[in-house]
């Protein structure tokens, strides 16, 4: 990976100055175009050993580019706020929106590199982690992010010289860090090379930048950015790899929802007793000290008028209001539209010791967006895997994910719609869109069927809730939440 960067590459100060003015102007112009057209997000990763010049490149980019649309973030050890959230949260949080330019130093490569440098990981774990990174970057690319990954490489001799120099200039800090390492510089380079190689994919390859000579390094970075932005802005769409065929509907029209017994019900007395018990149980568990190490993400999806709101209230009522938050998911805002579709959910994730309730969720991608054609087939088809990866990240962090589909019959929905229309204080709950969705009843059933099949994982299974009887539904929801939470406490 570093063969060509081990070659001596030089540009004189004079040549640099000559070329810099034109490059800078062109970069500003390209950036202006990008901003103006809000064409795509540009995300630059800067990696390389200490002393390779990451700071200097940042300074140069800061000087060359319009700082209004440039967001530089250096990721070091996670802060307390970051530690309270899944590992990838801080990267999502800082993703540039369309039209903007983000520069990450450190990035999601920091952990695997650091872990290997101090000699912690085994081979299979590394491979696994790199595969997850590749899937993540592929998702970014497919969501339209232009990802440029620069690996600043110092040749062997130059690298030794700089590390010595840094230690001398900055005192012991780096030397101490170095002493924590179990590997020599050349072993670290080998690990780095391997990581760079395995994560150099067709959609997100590394660009290795020879960095012995600062002028050469900075011009290379600048030119690469310029070429990449220009090409992408000018790019005519090329034909995609044909997407996989969408699943055909079950021949008998029978979906997982048909397995539900909608007659399930609960008497008012039983309901009151069980509800009180469950709410107490949930309250106790979320007040428990042990709860502060975990957290809950509760997803509510279901037919219109199936009673999501009522079920959600029964859950939230049981919990200390400082620990719970309900997120109503409607159409994305402009800011959210300028990001990959999962972004708006990442920003709403609970910290440890908290419960986040999603009234509708990321599953909109494979429900309404699929059915209304808001995204292409290939996009919702890849979403199943992306959502599973997303939820696996949350689970790995200790979050408990509960997912409910509240199901009612078509007749019951009609009854409730009419009741809403006839009850003044409920009228706001029913809109033309509800009636339009109702016409797509069967399409929704099929989408739910595929969704349950493809995203019911061991760690984040779907619970289908018979919601014809509201009492039955609320108790089933609460007891599921309690049981799942109990399982981890």
């Amino acid at each position: 990976m570093f063969q060509s960067a081990e070659q001596p590459h030089e540009i004189s100060k004079f040549d640099f100055k000559q070329q810099e003015a034109a490059l800078r102007e062109a970069l500003l112009e390209a950036q202006f175009d990008l901003v103006e057209r809000q064409a795509f997000p540009l995300l630059i990763l800067l990696a390389g050993l200490d002393g390779a010049g990451k700071g200097a490149v940042l300074a140069r980019l800061g000087a060359w580019l319009d700082p209004h649309h440039l967001h530089i973030v250096a990721f070091d050890r996670p802060t307390d706020v970051e530690k309270a959230r899944p590992r990838m949260w801080r990267y999502w949080y800082n993703l540039p929106p369309r039209g903007k330019l983000g520069v990450f130093v450190g990035s999601w490569y920091r952990e695997p590199l650091a872990a290997h440098v101090i000699g912690k990981r085994d081979e299979n774990a590394l491979v696994r982690e790199l595969a997850a990174i590749n899937r993540f970057e592929q998702m970014l690319a497919e969501e339209g992010v232009l990802l440029l990954k620069f690996w600043l490489h110092l040749s062997g001799g130059e690298s030794k010289r700089r590390l010595r120099e840094i230690a001398r200039e900055e005192g012991v800090r780096h030397v101490v860090e170095q002493r924590g390492w179990k590997q020599t510089r050349s072993e670290i380079v080998t690990v780095g090379e391997r990581i760079a190689m395995d994560t150099s994919t067709g959609l997100a390859p590394w660009v290795v930048v020879p960095s012995d000579n600062a002028y050469y390094r900075d011009l290379s970075v600048g030119r690469t950015i310029l070429e990449a932005v220009r090409k992408r802005l000018a790019a005519a769409p090329v034909p995609a790899t044909p997407s996989a065929p969408a699943p055909i509907p079950p021949l008998d029209g029978r979906t997982v929802l048909d397995g539900l017994d909608l007659e399930s019900s609960l008497s008012p007395t039983d309901y009151r007793r069980q509800l009180a018990e469950l709410q107490q149980r949930l309250g106790r568990m979320t007040d428990d000290r042990r709860f502060r190490k975990v957290g809950v993400v509760a997803v509510f999806e279901g037919n219109d008028a199936a009673g999501k709101g009522g079920s959600i209230r029964r859950v939230t009522m049981s919990i200390d209001p400082r620990r719970v938050r309900v997120h109503s998911i409607a159409a994305p805002t402009d800011e959210e539209k300028a990001q990959p579709y999962l972004w708006r959910f990442w920003r709403r994730l609970p910290g440890r010791g908290h419960v986040a309730v999603f009234d509708r969720s990321w599953y909109g991608r494979v429900l309404v967006e699929r059915i209304e054609g808001f995204c292409a087939d290939r996009d919702w088809l890849r979403a199943y895997g992306e959502i599973n990866d997303f939820e696996a990240d949350l689970t790995a962090h200790g979050l408990v994910i509960v997912k409910f589909w509240l199901a009612i019959s078509k007749d019951e929905q009609l009854r409730r719609f009419k009741e809403r229309e006839n009850t003044p204080f409920k009228r706001y709950k029913i809109t033309d869109e509800d009636w339009r969705n109702r016409e797509k009843w069967d399409a929704y059933a099929l989408a739910v069927n595929d969704m349950v099949d493809r995203t019911s994982t061991e760690h984040a299974p779907w619970t289908l809730v018979e919601a014809e009887d509201k009492r039955y539904a609320r108790v089933k929801v609460l007891s599921t939440v309690c049981d799942r939470l109990e399982g981890v406490l």
Copy 2:
């Protein structure tokens, strides 16, 4: 993954018969279209537990489709021939070309499933294996293969009934197999579900087929094939995810080739002595009993007239001719063009105890195909990773990969071209194409630079050979082969 298939799904014999005739006709017509237009290869994978009806589905497909263009392969434990080759070889060997339909039973899912059923693998190893499968299938999809993966699923009750029945009917065989398993049926289903989930990607999702009722099962499979083929045949190209930008050339035009000292030379006396020693050494090693457990894949690339032929001869002369084979790689044949680009190399892989020499190779993808625009940018950009995966497969099998780039100067090439033109018996060696390639000298140098950077892996590094002096080059090639081989014997 199996939730909807756990539902009771039935179609009566009467309904089946009614629908079958039309489906069959439509399938034949779609197949005819596919053949006629040689549109794409259709590869169907059939998976599922014993008794789920794989055999019956095969019989049905055999009855429904034109057998001339249908190739059914059942993969069981590898045969001796298959064991002598890398694990994926037998799947490559049986890949359907464009226009044809292949059905694989067993397939590359056999090993991870079997290993987990008998309880061998650890979690990270499984994740790693599944990631490799996903990359492989993505490559197939991007090469244009329509991949349909059917997972025949029996509901819990039906499954038990069938396994008992099979054991009764066929004697002890399956029972014995079962006794070897360390897990119960439901644990096996859980592993299967997990594998199916993790390998259900956007480009190659699993289709779970409810299989309790044979009519339902067969119609589902038939309909899915029909829909998928029709849609793909009719598909208008959709815009692709924008590809990553191609690497910009080094600003100073300096490539890895500029690091070579082309003055390197060897006197005739030294040459003769060293050559004789090395050839003897190579001969001894390849005759050694231990060599029968490994094998060598030697790749020769280089400038035109750099002396690949002469170097290759010095290698092959040293080896028992029954153990060595030279493959000259020119433009692909029609048959090869109907397959993914790596196919023609898989078919030429050596068995254990053999040496395969490639005079030009799969690196054509990132050299001539890149430079001449024979494939899109995104295609050669993804090829680096695909080639690394390919070579990792070979290495895992015990093959030693040596890769040479023979480099001469532009002046020396001109001298040799002229010499060839002026020497009657060498004139066949020089063509108009050689002269045309010469005009693209710099483009080749850049392509070599990127190739060496991106495919010089720990297990399959490139060796750049200073070939201005033929004697020096031949000795360097031979000694590299000897050293690498010695490392594994």
